[in-house]
């Protein structure tokens, strides 16, 4: 069935216009804050409306084929034909809705958050540019266009992390993000070259149509392609081993963390794997690697999150951990589940970050009012904020329950589905790994509940530790900031209801929400090839978890487990008393290891950076200076010896040389002719 998208180009062009307008404002009249206030959020909201129109028109149609709109020929070189083309399908419209929807809420929040910043127009210019590139990424109809968006969001991320570039540390964080991302981009590029040499095209439609015929299941080439693609994904989506930039990326303004480093850009890797699902389905080894790296990251980041004191750092590691879940989902072959978690995560993680932003905003204003130089982001300086910021408190609890997986919040459905899918895919040659992944995912879920409860208790409950004078200045944030929080809170509750599996709907109490499995049906046209490949090669899926028990039972178990863990953590932590950061004793033992993030940065320094330097030094001192220079000098001496003889032939006269050339030409011609 054919479908004519409505104003598809405008979705892209609106944020770009916003960028131009705000950028010009930043250049010409930085003090004019009205322009960015109107234009910045306005263009994104307008793009959201257009996306919504398209979405409703699409949802009326059954089994829609992807709509490809080609605007102009971009790189027509020989057999390589790349168009500047956009692809509108079920996945990209979903991503567009998330980006523009959550994006416009965050833009609105930013009006309040960045109100006093001198770089206000520049901030909105970058943010709009980011939205533009992110939309290019998700709407592109071929790998190169996607790559343009991919690089573009990396650029905007760099610009926004280093937004306060006068602070050396923040500028360095931006550079770190940029450099670590380059490693991933290298993987993406190599994957593109491989795809082009093997399939002769880079258009999504052609590649995914040709791949099942060209590659056998588990062929080395497709495994290599997918592994390189995944390398790209680990860079952008902050997975082991390239996750290290994301926690540092918290140096940017908090709404940026919410938009870029939680809700949208970091999900690009997940989107890419989901987009290339056909390729990944053909490569079981790569898929297992994806899922296992995801599980490892989920667990690992969760443990680090347990011991962080900076409210944004906790959320950053939480993001890394939740991204790990998404990779588990897309890795085990449950692409819809991964995208589902991507969506719900966008709601509640944006909410958490914006809530944290609100808290930081309030703390900052309080400390600013009394000129206290305490860190407004350190949770040890907070405490008891629920009395001052009730709306923030409630909405953040909603998000916490969602991320911890409490029924009926959104996270329950998405996370439970991923864990369950990991369990049922534990068949075939990699069954053992899948079981391990399932177990790790469960463990990470428990840790999630713990660190999120800890964050809430430390921030909002107990005694206020900011100081008496400061407490007078604490107050709720203005409506322009709490309204987005409220909207996101509603979404964090109902966001999961679009995809309730029938197993849960069959349960007595939890089955209150009717089954829909809407998202599965919605994405089915894009995933059915991959599903067929997996079903054809993996065989019958398991219907129980590795240790027994069906879907319904495990849903109940994980819900109860999360609830119990939250209750226990809350009880334990509420009983303790905390001291402000500058009075607190340094952590000891294992807690210190966690607080220092397992010393990963130091380990990287020791096993990557220093050995590279040491090896280079060794190569320079010994290999280069002794062996190679020795060889070269020896060769030179030899050559000089010959040259002494040969130089007698050199007359220095140009005509003689020309004559030699001509003799050569005559010889060659003679060879050809005679």
């Amino acid at each position: 069935m054919s479908f004519e998208p409505t104003l598809l180009w405008a979705i892209l062009l609106l944020p770009l216009t916003g960028f131009v307008v705000n950028g010009l404002t930043a250049f010409l009249a930085p003090e004019r804050k009205q322009i960015p206030t109107l234009v910045g959020p306005g263009v994104v909201a307008a793009a959201f409306v257009i996306a919504l129109v398209n979405f409703f028109r699409m949802s009326g149609a059954e089994h829609l084929d992807p709509v490809i709109v080609s605007y102009w020929s971009w790189m027509p070189v020989g057999s390589l034909q790349i168009d500047a083309a956009l692809q509108l399908d079920q996945l990209s419209i979903l991503m567009t809705l998330i980006i523009t929807g959550v994006g416009s809420l965050i833009h609105i929040f930013s009006i309040g958050y960045m109100k006093a910043d001198p770089g206000y127009p520049r901030y909105f210019a970058y943010l709009n540019l980011f939205v533009f590139f992110m939309l290019v990424l998700v709407l592109g109809a071929n790998f190169p266009v996607m790559f343009v968006g991919w690089e573009g969001v990396g650029l905007c991320s760099y610009l926004l992390i280093g937004f306060w570039f006068k602070d050396r540390e923040k500028a360095d964080a931006g550079k770190k993000a940029f450099i670590v991302n380059r490693i991933g981009d290298f993987g993406f590029l190599v994957a593109m070259f491989l795809i082009f040499t093997n399939l002769g095209s880079l258009d999504f439609r052609d590649v995914f149509a040709a791949a099942p015929e060209m590659f056998t299941y588990g062929a080395p080439v497709v495994t290599a392609i997918t592994l390189f693609l995944f390398l790209g994904a680990t860079g952008k989506s902050a997975q082991i081993p390239l996750y290290v930039w994301l926690p540092d990326a918290m140096a940017g303004p908090t709404p940026v963390s919410a938009l870029i480093h939680a809700a949208t850009m970091v999900t690009a890797g997940v989107y890419m794997v989901a987009r290339a699902n056909v390729l990944f389905a053909l490569a079981p080894l790569s898929s297992t690697v994806v899922a296992f790296v995801g599980a490892l990251t989920a667990l690992f980041a969760a443990t680090i999150g347990l011991a962080q004191n900076d409210i944004k750092k906790v959320l950053a590691y939480s993001t890394v951990s939740q991204l790990g879940y998404m990779f588990i989902g897309v890795g085990v072959g449950a692409y819809a589940a991964g995208v589902f978690h991507l969506m719900t995560h966008a709601f509640f993680k944006a909410l958490l970050f914006l809530g944290a932003g609100a808290v930081i905003h309030a703390m900052h204003e309080a400390f600013h009012a009394t000129h206290k130089d305490w860190d407004p982001q350190d949770m040890r300086n907070m405490g008891g904020l629920r009395r001052f910021m009730p709306i923030t408190w409630i909405t953040m609890w909603v998000a916490t329950l969602a991320i911890a997986g409490i029924w009926p919040f959104a996270g329950f459905f998405s996370k439970d589905e991923i864990i369950w899918q990991a369990a049922v895919h534990a068949v075939g040659p990699y069954a053992g790994w899948a079981k391990l992944i399932w177990f790790m995912a469960l463990a990470a879920a428990i840790l999630t509940a713990v660190y999120m409860t800890r964050l809430m208790i430390l921030t909002f409950h107990g005694e206020n530790r900011s100081g008496k004078e400061e407490a007078k200045h604490l107050h709720e944030v203005p409506p322009v900031m709490w309204v987005p929080l409220a909207v996101l809170a509603v979404l964090s509750v109902v966001g999961g209801w679009v995809n309730v599996p029938h197993e849960i709907a069959d349960l007595p109490v939890l089955g209150w929400i009717p089954t829909s499995e809407w998202l599965h049906h919605w994405l089915e046209p894009l995933t059915h090839t991959a599903d067929a490949i997996i079903a054809g090669n993996l065989g019958e899926l398991s219907d129980t978890a590795p240790v027994g028990g069906g879907a319904g039972a495990w849903a109940v178990i994980s819900f109860v487990l999360a609830a119990v863990v939250i209750a226990l953590t809350a009880r334990t932590l509420l009983g303790r008393s905390y001291r402000p950061a500058h009075e607190a004793a340094p952590a000891t033992g294992f807690l210190r290891v966690l607080q220092n993030k397992w010393y990963v940065d130091e380990i990287y320094d020791a096993i990557v950076v220093r050995p590279v330097i040491a090896t280079s030094r060794f190569l320079w001192r010994y290999v280069d200076q002794l062996i190679i220079d020795g060889l070269v000098n020896g060769a030179a001496h030899l050559a000089r010896g010959f040259g002494a003889i040969g130089s007698r032939l050199q007359t220095g006269q140009l005509n003689t040389y020309a004559f030699a050339v001509i003799i050569g030409v005559i010889l060659l011609l003679g060879f050809v002719v005679l």
């Binding site: 020989g78 005509n655 005559i666 011609l669 002719v673």
Partner: protein, 171 residues
């Protein structure tokens, strides 16, 4: 008519070439070479390569040779003739080798099957009719030979930078 013109211009081209080699003063050599280039442009027109003919005059006669002329004048090599012909031995050797090359090339060209007519003349006629003189050559150049075209652009840029750097007095 065209054949007659062809012979006239061919004779002029050869005459110009000989005049260039024999010319005593550099300016005289140069002007003879311009004559050759001009005749070649005329021959290109007879071969229906109108665009190439125009470019031949614009680039060679109009730009490259004027540059040569400018350099000759800049170095003031105008009138004072300095003997720069090699000795008789060289002249003999040179003529003989050139003759050998000429003979071999002619022989290669007259070999049966060396030149296969693939209907180029008709293709060129059709292209000229459909896309006019400039379009006929622009289409293959910008479609099939984009990469070489870009490369020549880079080459020109590099040459320009190099020339400026070389000819600059103080770096």
């Amino acid at each position: 008519m065209t054949t007659l013109l062809w012979y006239i211009f061919a004779a002029l081209a050869i005459g110009g070439g000989v005049g260039m080699v024999m010319g005593r003063q550099p300016v005289a050599s140069l002007l003879s070479l311009v004559l050759t280039f001009f005749s070649l442009a005329a021959i290109y027109i007879l071969l229906e390569a109108h665009f190439i003919a125009a470019v031949q005059i614009i680039v060679y006669a109009g730009a490259i040779m004027v540059l040569f002329l400018f350099v000759i004048m800049l170095l003031n090599l105008g009138h004072d003739y300095r003997a720069d012909l090699r000795g008789l031995a060289w002249i003999v050797v040179g003529s003989v080798s050139a003759g050998v090359i000429g003979y071999m090339l002619s022989r290669a060209l007259t070999t049966e099957g060396a030149i296969v007519d693939q209907g180029g003349a008709e293709m060129i006629d059709a292209a000229l009719r459909n896309h006019n003189a400039v379009g006929a050559i622009a289409l293959p150049m910008f479609r099939d030979y984009v990469v070489p075209f870009e490369l020549t652009a880079v080459l020109l840029l590099v040459a320009m930078v190099g020339a400026v750097l070389l000819a600059k007095r103080r770096v």
